[in-house]
């Protein structure tokens, strides 16, 4: 029960928020708004899935925003300047991201360094690399892009479920399955519980750590691909600060920043809550965009304080040996 509590609270917060918005703006509760919510936050959602794995394992990945920026520039240059077919460019960039993430994971594991600092170096490196490739915004005009932009599942009520929204949903489902139904997923939780105990229990801690950061970087790369679908451009300054939004979404989604607890579904709701705040501000028209950050900060504080309370409560004497039957 305790484990589910943060996610339930998050979900309740989202539902209450959505109802309040709907009462205030009659047009709010429509498939159009919901579909846009999904589309606008697709790239954030995808990268947040990776961050969920990292944070549950007790780590953090500050490099994701830069990796998204790097991906957009790489794709724009490859597709527009070097005529690489988009699909080949996608594959290439994902391989690069995978290698990048694996290198960070290996540095964390084998040099015994704090993830915060290693991924900080990653942040500098990836952003610097994208600046070096190009500092201007490059439009992407490949036919594939207009095809993708043009296609969507039409929902009753005028909503358009776009390809990128579908991609995000797919990543959430796949991430949920990977985290909750595979040995790898259990190992991720185990690492967040205690690295030492996990190693004692025979789990290959090194390989797991490397895979976790690889996954995070690959999803950041995928998020970058989605970002180019969304903006049809590559720009080295894109997605600056997204690492913060991502971490906030994961924490608001009920995942413990200290590791060990969390759900992919919670992150999904966390992303939706951030989107909801933005949508509300757009609907309102008079509120300014900075309220998003303040509201996110307040929610972040509320959830961190709430989790701290749960930790304190958990330190009290545990249940008695309920259910023990001496044989």
């Amino acid at each position: 029960m305790n484990r589910l509590l943060p996610v339930l609270v998050t979900t309740a917060v989202f539902l209450v928020g959505f109802i309040i918005c709907s009462l205030q703006y009659p047009n709010f509760a429509s498939t159009r708004v919901v579909a846009n919510l999904l589309t606008d936050n697709a790239f954030l959602g995808i990268v947040a899935v990776g961050m969920t794995f990292v944070i549950i394992s007790g780590g953090i990945d500050l490099s994701v925003g830069s990796v998204i920026g790097f991906t957009t520039v790489f794709l724009a240059l490859a597709i527009e300047r070097h005529d690489v077919p988009p699909l080949v460019a996608f594959a290439l960039v994902l391989v690069i991201c995978a290698a990048f993430g694996a290198a960070m994971g290996a540095a964390i594991q084998y040099f015994d360094l704090p993830p915060f600092i290693v991924t900080l170096a990653g942040l500098f490196l990836a952003r610097g690399a994208s600046f070096l490739m190009s500092t201007e915004s490059i439009a992407i005009n490949a036919p594939l892009y207009s095809d993708i932009a043009g296609y969507a599942i039409r929902l009753p009520g005028g909503g358009r479920l776009t390809i990128i929204a579908l991609m995000m949903l797919a990543v959430f489902v796949a991430g949920g399955v990977l985290l909750h139904f595979t040995r790898f997923g259990t190992n991720v939780y185990a690492l967040g519980g205690s690295r030492a105990s996990t190693a004692l229990m025979g789990v290959r801690v090194g390989a797991t750590t490397i895979r976790i950061y690889m996954l995070s970087s690959v999803l950041a790369g995928l998020s970058g691909i989605v970002f180019t679908f969304y903006t049809s451009a590559g720009y080295s300054l894109s997605a600056v600060g997204v690492e913060l939004d991502t971490i906030a979404a994961v924490v608001i989604g009920g995942t413990m920043l200290t590791g060990g607890y969390g759900f992919v579904f919670g992150t999904f709701v966390g992303v939706l809550i951030q989107g909801l705040i933005q949508t509300y501000i757009t609907f309102d028209g008079s509120l300014s965009s900075w309220w998003t950050k303040i509201a996110t900060g307040v929610l972040l504080f509320a959830f961190i304080a709430f989790q701290q309370l749960l930790v304190v409560l958990a330190r009290r004497p545990p249940r008695r040996v309920a259910g023990v039957v001496p044989s």
Binding site: L123, T258, S288, K293
Partner: protein, 327 residues
């Protein structure tokens, strides 16, 4: 346990001199200093002048890191305080402007300190809240615009001079001396190092570890506020979006380059400031050499990696010997 760089600071001084020498090779006028309008000018002066905000942040950050903490919010606090100063500058007398900005910084520090010392939240998580919300608060103050001012009083903090020394340099130097007096002429330094080295043992010896922790975050808030004022005065305005952006990372980097371990304990304020100057000298050198300024980030990434590897317990046999003897 990380390998501690020699406290003498020889490597840092050598690194700084080497970078200056490279800069000189790149640009023969590097060491030229002119005296004009009662103020010194020149590339070398620029290194000190431009490096002032990060140096100020590093002065606060080094104390926080010495207690085994970290403050991610310094950039956001800079933005808040700069915004307050710029907004009030043309309508209020200077003492009110400065007091308001510094007061806000102290409050931010107090908030962080409360979360860490009283609620017991991990520093990196606790300060993340203000890192996210702070920039929103700054934008709220400036109402999303770049607020400009004309007050020559406040402008002095960026463009003025004291006996020919640019004001930012003079301010930084004053704060440096003040901080050193505070920590080394009282018992604060010893208490902070004891708290960071072994909080439990220190508490048992009667050290008020909570008060120490609170104090360093408050001081860090104060230093960030000053950095915000200097940055605002420099551009005669406050840009809530970009003021102090990423500077928290530079400040942490400066502290690490200055040989203070992220695992707390021994610290050196002077070397942290030297670390900030090393970073700025690299920036200036890259500018002078005609490389795009974007190259900076890549160089920083490399510096982070080198310093990290030097601190890594597994990298150097010497480190293993040392840590073995200590354990």
């Amino acid at each position: 346990m990380a390998l501690r760089l020699p406290r003498s600071g020889v490597p840092q001084v050598l690194a700084f001199l080497a970078i200056l020498a490279v800069n000189w090779m790149v640009s023969a006028q590097f060491f030229d200093i002119r005296f004009q309008d009662g103020r010194l000018f020149g590339s070398l002066i620029d290194v000190f002048n431009r490096g002032a905000p990060v140096a100020l942040l590093a002065i606060g950050m080094v104390l926080v890191i010495a207690t085994r903490g970290i403050d991610l919010s310094v950039g956001a606090v800079m933005a808040i305080c700069g915004a307050i100063a710029a907004t009030l500058a043309d309508t209020q007398p200077l003492p009110v402007v400065i007091a308001a900005a510094l007061g806000a910084g102290l409050l931010c520090g107090l908030w962080n300190g409360l979360l860490v010392a009283v609620l017991g939240i991990q520093p990196i998580i606790a300060t993340l809240i203000l890192m996210v919300a702070g920039r929103g608060i700054a934008q709220l103050i400036t109402e999303g615009r770049i607020v400009t001012f004309t007050s020559p009083d406040l402008a002095w903090f960026g463009g003025g001079s004291v006996l020919g020394v640019p004001a930012p340099v003079a301010i930084t130097f004053t704060v440096l001396v003040l901080t050193i007096l505070l920590v080394r002429r009282t018992a604060l330094g010893l208490m902070i190092e004891a708290t960071g080295g072994n909080a439990r043992a220190s508490a048992l010896a009667g050290v008020g570890t909570r008060v120490m922790t609170m104090a360093v975050y408050v001081w860090c808030g104060f230093c960030s506020a000053l950095a915000g004022i200097v940055a605002a005065a420099d551009i005669l305005g406050a840009d809530a979006n970009n003021s102090g952006l990423w500077l928290e990372l530079d400040a942490i980097l400066a502290v690490v380059i200055g040989g203070t371990s992220l695992f707390g304990g021994r610290f050196s304020v002077v070397l942290a400031v030297l670390g900030a100057l090393i970073i700025q000298a690299m920036n200036t050198g890259i500018l002078l050499s005609g490389y795009p300024p974007e190259f900076n980030l890549v160089v920083k990434a490399v510096v982070v990696l080198v310093v990290l590897l030097m601190q890594s317990p597994r990298f150097s046999g010497l480190a293993i010997l040392l840590s073995g003897a200590r354990k």
